[in-house]
């Protein structure tokens, strides 16, 4: 007889040691103490089990029981995930509030998915069909825009022996699949829900190279540092530089089907902001409330530290699940530094040998494992004769990083940079001048090249425009250094023209207010026309200088003020209005005598 109840022998913060647990595996979930606090086995040695506890351990005594559940930390995946707010262990916070009040009590449990809600299930296969992992058995309309595809769970296959359409709760059986050989038959009942251990990536058929950008509605990102659908990006920045505002903007406007937002060790009020605002905001692509495509995971900074570590994995597993249905999913993690710190704290309590700045030596490996769970894939499943391409899905990961003192040389930033392909460096100096988004254009980069996509989808001169604009901004940095040393008078007129246009680019194109309704989301087409107008003005300025017309006369043109108001144009009419401005620019220069 196996004994799955042990005894606490040592408590130090979130780390508890127990003896007497038999047949226990690493990463099994245990319940600690009379309160039944949730914990996870993180180390095993002869008879001694070390557990990280996901809740506050105050009041736990030596000698209290520890009970093994025999299962690793799993999430429940099924219809009803969208629109939910979970803690790091997938406990639904709204249900906890109904049962436990305004404050989070310890040792509470609640089902992550609404148990009594009935979903309309329509089957897509018939009795007798042979199905394998990832095949779609049927669909449930989960929200206005997301059709929840009920898939055969990974590692399962067989012949459908029964399937029915109709209204079901998440736990009812909708299909039975029979597999078997000479040794015997195995009937497996399939409900709308599957479970998956969070620390294990969900399998796919093939991993593909990223091919198109994930448009974000933020001009500097889309135009200069795009992230791929299925790619990864990090946003490091000191406090107040706008990490959270940028992440919120992405959650709102990014061109993804499903967004998983993990608030990992951050402010409670920020989660509330999302909760209050998202149900009211519309997805610019579909018109449905944003909340209907969003799953929130809120593990605020005052919630237990170990659950912070789990929240990232809970989030990415949910993201992978929707990816497996064939959706483009965006996972946002704010902030991965708090996750790193949770690792450091647990590691310290385990008395492990510290690596750089006290972080455990495996920090780099953990970060790499996490970012590599992003990607564009061909999903599991046989997609029928007509669909030889396969169902494709992607998970894009954007992680905020909070480097101490805003110093990017620290381990979490450095190790994340090694694995993430896009780097949006937030800058104190820009944020102090209220240049938002404060993404520094000299130190940020994107390793993706989407020039083909932009040329075919946006405009043939896109690449030319954006490269020229970026070169201008880089040139400005060099010139400003000279100005700092010798003053603006030392510059030639042509160089002063570069300064004037670069300033126009910064103020009238790069700056984007996340708080002004008309400007917070900018379609790629509006961004293109805005950029085109500025660069057109630049080219005409050069022509004017060639014609010996002074820069002062050019910058005094009244049309300069019109360019500054391009942001205020509505998305639908922007192209027309900007073209009108460009016409006025042409006339103004003609008046100066430039052809």
């Amino acid at each position: 007889m196996n004994n799955n109840i042990g005894k606490v022998i040592r408590i130090a913060g979130p780390v508890v040691r127990a003896v007497g647990l038999e047949n226990i595996r690493l990463y099994d979930v245990v319940r600690v103490g009379e309160l039944g606090l949730i914990g996870e086995v993180i180390r095993l040695s002869e008879g001694l089990t070390t557990i990280q506890v996901y809740e506050d351990t105050s009041g736990i005594r030596v000698g209290e029981p520890v009970q093994s559940t025999g299962l690793p930390l799993v999430v429940r995946l099924g219809p009803g995930l969208l629109g939910q707010v979970y803690d790091g262990l997938q406990r639904p916070l709204e249900i906890l509030a109904e049962t436990g009040g305004e404050f989070i009590q310890r040792g509470v449990q609640a089902s992550p998915l609404p148990e009594d809600k009935r979903w309309q299930f329509t089957s897509h296969v018939s009795v007798g069909d042979v199905v394998g992992a990832g095949d779609i058995l049927g669909v449930v309309p989960e929200s206005q825009t997301i059709e929840h595809r009920i898939m055969v769970p990974p590692h399962q296959r067989g012949r459908v022996v029964s399937i029915r359409s109709g209204e079901f709760t998440v736990n009812e059986t909708v299909a039975v699949i029979r597999s078997g050989d000479e040794a015997g038959v195995n009937n497996r009942e399939i409900s709308l829900v599957q479970r998956w251990p969070v620390r294990q990536p969900r399998p796919c058929q093939t991993r593909l190279a990223p091919r198109e950008p994930l448009l974000t509605g933020t001009r500097i990102i889309d135009a200069f540092f795009p992230v791929a659908k299925g790619g990864s990006a990090i946003i490091p920045g000191g406090f107040g530089t706008g990490k959270t505002v940028t992440e919120h903007s992405l959650a709102r406007w990014a061109d993804a089907d499903v967004v998983v937002y993990v608030g990992c060790g951050e402010r409670g009020n920020e989660m509330t902001e999302v909760l209050e605002e998202f149900p009211k905001l519309e997805d610019p692509r579909t018109g449905a409330p944003l909340m209907e495509r969003t799953v929130l995971i809120a593990n605020t900074s005052n919630m237990p530290v170990a659950a912070r570590e789990a929240s990232i994995y809970t989030g990415i597993t949910i993201a992978e699940y929707y990816r497996d249905m064939g959706y483009d999913v965006l996972m946002l993690a704010d902030s991965t530094s708090r996750w790193g710190e949770a690792l450091r704290e647990i590691s310290g309590r385990l008395e492990e040998m510290p690596g750089e700045e006290g972080y455990p030596a495996y920090l780099a490996a953990r970060l790499a494992e996490f970012y590599e769970r992003s990607g564009r894939i061909i999903c599991l499943g046989n997609h029928g004769a007509s669909d030889t391409q396969g169902r494709m899905g992607s998970v894009s990961v954007v992680g905020a990083v909070s480097p101490p003192g805003g110093d990017f040389s620290e381990p979490v930033t450095q190790n994340s940079m090694r694995v993430a392909s896009t780097f949006w460096a937030l800058d104190y100096d820009l944020s102090r001048r209220r240049h938002f988004p404060a993404i520094n254009w000299t130190s940020s980069y994107s390793l993706y090249d989407f020039s083909d996509w932009f040329e075919s989808e946006v405009a043939t001169d896109w690449d030319e425009l954006s490269s020229e604009a970026m070169a201008l901004l880089q040139r400005e940095v060099e010139l400003l250094e000279i100005v700092q040393l010798v003053g603006p008078d030392a510059l030639a007129e042509r160089e002063r023209a570069v300064l004037a246009i670069a300033r126009m680019l910064r103020e009238d194109f790069l700056q984007q207010s996340a708080y002004r309704d008309v400007d917070r989301y900018c379609s790629i087409h509006k961004a293109y026309w805005m950029l085109k107008a500025v660069m057109d003005f630049y080219h005409r300025t050069q022509a004017a200088l060639d014609a010996k017309i002074s820069l002062e006369r050019v910058t005094a043109l009244s049309v300069v003020a019109d360019i500054a108001r391009m942001k205020e144009f509505q998305m639908e009419t922007a192209e027309k209005e900007i073209k009108a401005i460009m016409d006025r620019v042409q006339f103004s220069f003609a008046d100066l005598g430039v052809a």
Partner: protein
């Protein structure tokens, strides 16, 4: 006052098995049935009872930290009694008007406080889905805050100060002037009108001079009878500072969420709190993080700062104003750095402005209020507020750049436009920020801003939409 609940056990065991006393830590051997974070009473040879807390338990041994000093304890006769409960504070509405020490015992010579409830001082995290987003504008009467870094109800906003800068004066000024300006512009004076208001003041390691400054301020503004003071002075035991903010926030939460008060909590000085945290971490031989502060300082500070906010359906609120001294004026030091990552913005004081005689010496460029947008605009302050603030920021930042340039190339080399910006920066510092002890209404603050912008041509005011320029901009050269 910090007290312990009736003992849940039939027998309390007393131990005389001390094996080590090291700084604030005691090690007790051969213990059984001890709980993590349990409160212990330690009775020294002199018979004095000191409180401590279990920091680590093992099968045979436990580590206890003593809050009020270990001097005078010995290994042979000191007795340790385990209470079986975590640290609790007896809370009551009658705490208002009282002065308590850092662990919650009255030191004003008044009667003991009869508790209505006895609460765990560590509190519980507010369920994020039960919070409501802070959105009520608190008028502090200080232009640099109201106009540019607006405070809202339920926010936590620190003041990053330096040694010798007037952070305490500013905090006291805000405590006495703060009020909510209502949606339809009917003013509800906090404390004086219908909305019940309270101040919880927690002092950690502040000097006698600072203590009497605050007491005088509270008495002078008739605010004393709606204030609770928790005072841990510089010469009080430093480990007690770990209790002080927790006790104060427990009282604040009780007043806010049980008695529906709007509570302003002033915590000063968090730097002293963090030093105490480092002291205890060093004594227990933990792996140190940056500058010797423990790796969990972020979580520890968050467990304090996050105890502010508003709860859905509850009329009360907890707003925190946290004062900390940046060692060597260094904003990247771990204390301000970690604080800034948790709080919803920061007000930064500048030595430079202070030297110029500007009060309050708020450097608006590194200052920030993250909840500003929720608290301003139509029905709260004025529709032009956001864009005026952005414009002031942009011009002032430009003016500061120009100042650096002038130092190199001289003012003569500047264009007329640049000179206007330079002049704006000067007037902005002297009259907008440097308002002195005056209490300015928000409308006065915004009008003053337009006054400062009046010499600027409209084309330069790129941050302001056309409609507001037409409405408010009166060009004066």
């Amino acid at each position: 006052m910090l007290k312990t609940m009736p003992l849940p056990r039939l027998l309390t065991t007393e131990y005389r098995t001390l094996s080590q006393i090291r700084g604030p830590l005691l090690f007790v051997e051969r213990t059984a049935d001890v709980a993590y974070n349990e409160i212990v009473e330690v009775i020294g040879p002199d018979g004095e009872v000191r409180l401590g807390q279990v920091m680590e338990v093992d099968r045979q041994r436990c580590m206890v930290r003593i809050f009020i000093g270990t001097s005078g304890l010995d290994l042979d006769t000191t007795r340790v009694r385990f209470t079986g409960d975590v640290a609790r504070l007896g809370v009551s509405l009658s705490m208002l008007g009282r002065v308590l020490n850092g662990s919650g015992q009255p030191i004003d010579g008044g009667p003991p406080i009869i508790p209505e409830r006895s609460l765990d001082i560590n509190g519980l995290p507010i369920n994020p889905s039960m919070r409501t987003h802070p959105s009520e504008f608190i008028q502090t009467g200080v232009s640099a805050i109201d106009g540019l870094n607006t405070l809202t109800r339920g926010q936590k906003l620190p003041i990053f100060s330096g040694a010798g800068l007037p952070a305490n004066e500013l905090a006291a000024q805000i405590a006495s002037q703060a009020r909510v300006v209502g949606g339809d512009n009917t003013e509800k004076a906090e404390g004086k009108g219908s909305e019940p208001f309270a101040v919880v003041f927690a002092a950690m390691g502040i000097t006698q001079r600072e203590t009497s400054f605050f007491m005088d301020q509270f008495r002078a503004s008739d605010a004393m009878d709606r204030t609770v003071l928790f005072i841990n002075r510089a010469d009080d035991p430093s480990i007690e500072r770990l209790l002080t903010p927790r006790a104060a926030l427990t009282a604040a939460e009780y007043l806010a969420f049980t008695h529906h008060r709007h509570v302003l909590v002033i915590l000063t000085d968090m730097t002293n709190y963090c030093e105490a945290l480092r002291e205890i971490a060093a004594a227990s031989e933990e792996v140190p993080g940056r500058r010797g502060y423990p790796g969990y300082m972020y979580s520890d500070l968050a467990s304090l700062y996050e105890r502010s906010g508003r709860i859905r359906g509850n009329p009360g609120s907890v707003t925190q104003l946290v004062i900390l001294t940046m060692p060597d004026d260094d904003i990247t030091h771990p204390i301000p750095d970690l604080t800034g990552y948790i709080t919803e913005g920061q007000i930064v004081l500048s030595r430079d402005l202070h030297r110029k005689g500007i009060y309050p010496p708020i450097d608006v460029l590194p200052s920030l209020s993250r909840l500003m947008n929720e608290g301003i605009g139509q029905g709260k302050t004025r529709t032009d507020h956001r864009s005026v603030a952005d414009q002031l920021y942009a011009l002032y930042a430009e003016g500061r750049d120009l100042r650096r340039l002038v130092a190199i190339i001289g003012e003569a080399a500047l264009s007329a436009e640049d000179r206007r910006v330079l002049d704006f920066a000067k007037r902005f510092e002297e009259t907008f920020v440097g308002q002195g002890m005056v209490n300015r209404e928000i409308v006065e603050t915004l009008d003053h801003a337009w006054e400062l912008l009046s010499p600027m041509p409209a084309e330069l005011l790129k941050r302001i939409p056309q409609e507001f320029i037409e409405q408010y901009h009166r060009r004066k050269v």
